[in-house]
């Protein structure tokens, strides 16, 4: 990852990555045509999708339909996505969702609504049964297997159970993400230190996960997610195992990361947090998006 900045370099909303495979207008049009109205109804207005961004001459095509939002500038775009598991369970049904670069969005819904399934689609752990999933400018249905790792390096993933390696120190756990993606050794140390500084764990660098509090463990996981300088942070119930006070700490950290330019999508059951912050909330119920608006957690899940 030589060209993309890590933390200190330039964690600004990034230029669309020159990434394979390109999403072409004709492809987009084809996929949007049947339910173009539906997409626009759910997504914010097209102008909001491309805020003040100078047109990229390499991407703009003469005659491109102005009513089609430029989804390549969106961090995440789902169109008419349905996911049916092999056992026949329909976990997501006709989901449309556009998350502009730089957004902070909550994904809420009762247990079994399909939040984790949506996240699995975004990191291409699962493939959509039908519909289009675009993440960081890539069409995941057309993304080659061998390019999946490149996608995942642009996404930082955080889970409820931290997924830290117990035998490694905080520093090693964070460095592991770089080590296994072929980062030269001399670059690992400084990048890990920057990430630990961001989450405020520099002092605990040499401790092991079992010597840390839950909040510190989750912050380690966040540092690991951030160490590649991802465009998007995806968190699946990151505060699920933490008490309210510590949960707030984690949310504050994610907000700060968002302010530094990283798009954040967070699935959560934490009504208090969601209500307190005036952020965009997408509610899933039985696989469908039932609400998509700013603020509020109207129902108790």
């Amino acid at each position: 990852m030589p060209s993309r900045g890590r933390l200190t370099d330039a964690p600004v909303a990034s230029v669309p990555a020159v990434a394979e495979p390109y999403v072409t207008f004709s492809h987009l049009r084809a996929s949007l045509r049947p339910r173009a109205g539906a997409l626009e109804a759910v997504a914010p207005a097209p102008s909001a999708l491309t805020p003040d961004r100078p047109a990229d001459p390499a991407l703009a095509r003469p005659g491109a339909d102005a009513t089609i939002p430029d989804l390549r500038h969106a961090a995440i775009a789902l169109h008419d996505v349905t996911k049916v598991y092999p056992n026949g369970k329909r976990a997501l049904i006709e989901v449309d969702l556009v998350v502009p670069e730089g957004d902070f969005i909550f994904l809420v819904g009762p247990s079994g609504a399909g939040k984790s399934t949506l996240i699995k689609l975004l990191i291409r752990d699962e493939l959509a049964t039908t519909g289009t999933v675009l993440v960081a400018g890539r069409d995941l249905a057309r993304l080659r297997r061998r390019h999946v790792p490149h996608l995942r390096r642009e996404i930082g993933i955080i889970f409820q159970d931290f997924k830290l390696l117990p035998s490694k120190t905080v520093h090693e756990n964070v460095g592991f993400a770089l080590e296994v993606t072929g980062t030269p050794r001399r670059e690992v140390g400084p990048a890990v230190e920057r990430a630990l500084a961001l989450v405020g764990l520099s002092a605990q660098a040499e401790q092991r996960p079992n010597q840390l509090s839950g909040g510190e463990q989750q912050r380690t996981a966040i540092a690991r997610a951030m160490v590649h300088g991802p465009r998007i942070i995806i968190a699946d119930e990151p505060t699920g195992n933490l008490d309210p006070l510590i949960s707030w700490e984690i949310i504050q950290l994610l907000l700060r990361i968002n302010e530094l330019g990283t798009t954040v999508l967070m699935a959560t059951h934490n009504a208090e947090v969601v209500t307190a912050l005036r952020k965009r909330v997408v509610a899933l119920e039985e696989g469908r998006i039932v609400r998509d608006e700013v603020g509020g957690y109207h129902r108790q899940y």
Partner: protein
């Protein structure tokens, strides 16, 4: 690239050591298989060499009694040469035969004992080449007809046929046994590496999530499999090196005057075969084990 290599090698060694009981068990079965394989190759190449030697000789050789009048031998030679199934008949004198024998012994590095006796123990012979090596016709009968001329008729083709049959059976049976043993070894390697993979399941999950490529996930385990294979072949080669003189001895005792070459070339081929088979089974077993853990 360098960090990838360092990473893979370090983890392979780590994995082998952590799982050392199973790793060593796999190595030992690997050694057993490779020793068996080497044994089979040695016996087969011995037989093969014997076969070639025998085939290269004339098809029918009649050893003559000492002191038979030359004209009787000449007449017999004419008689046999006149037969329709015979291509050529040549006469080897006692002196020529002795010279051949000495040359052969020297080629095999054995001491020449014939000089000690003062007399020449090697008989003269008539050597018949047939037009078709399987068509004997009356050759043997005619050779044996005159009283006191021919001491013994060696029908090489009969020996060849027997050798071909033995070699064929041994090859088939040997390959069958080898295949079964190889499958068993593969199974054991697969299981050994699978345990190593399972011990690292959490790490692999994290590796996939943070964007490690398949190569980073796969190669440490493939190297671990290769390590089992190569360690197995090294031990096997050690055993063979220790046993080599004995094998040579046995080989030349069993096959006697047939110049079987337990030579450099066979040695090199055997090293290649043992290392190749070990590495192949180790690497293949590991690849199978780790497959289901790669990106879907």
């Amino acid at each position: 690239m360098l960090s990838f290599l360092a990473f893979s090698v370090r983890r392979a060694a780590q994995g082998f050591w952590r799982n050392r009981v199973m790793s060593l068990a796999a190595t030992v079965t690997m050694v057993l298989m490779l020793v068996l394989l080497s044994g089979l190759v040695l016996v087969l190449s011995g037989l093969e060499a014997g076969l070639q030697f025998v085939e290269s000789k004339v098809e029918v050789q009649a050893f003559l009694n000492d002191g038979v009048a030359p004209e009787r031998v000449a007449r017999l030679q004419e008689q046999v040469a006149a037969l329709p199934e015979v291509a050529t008949v040549t006469h080897t004198s006692k002196e020529e035969a002795l010279a051949d024998w000495r040359a052969q012994q020297e080629a095999q590095g054995r001491p020449d004992l014939t000089g000690l006796t003062g007399t020449n123990p090697i008989p003269a012979s008539l050597n018949v080449k047939l037009k078709d090596p399987r068509q004997y016709g009356q050759v043997v009968e005619i050779l044996k007809a005159p009283k006191g001329v021919v001491a013994e008729v060696l029908e090489t083709q009969r020996v060849v046929d027997a050798l071909v049959a033995i070699t064929g059976v041994l090859r088939t049976v040997g390959l069958g046994v080898m295949l079964m043993v190889a499958l068993t070894v593969l199974f054991i390697v697969v299981n050994t590496i699978r345990m190593a993979v399972m011990a690292r399941a959490d790490e692999i999950e994290i590796m996939r999530l943070v964007g490690a490529s398949d190569a980073f996930i796969r190669w440490p385990f493939v190297l671990e499999g290769l390590l089992v294979g190569l360690l197995g072949s090294l031990v096997t080669l050690g055993i063979l090196a220790v046993a080599a003189p004995a094998i040579s001895q046995l080989g030349s005792t069993v096959l006697r005057e047939i110049p079987v070459g337990f030579d450099q070339r066979l040695g090199e081929q055997l090293v290649l075969l043992v290392v190749g088979a070990g590495a192949l089974l180790g690497g293949l077993g590991a690849t199978i084990s780790v497959r289901s853990y790669l990106i879907k």
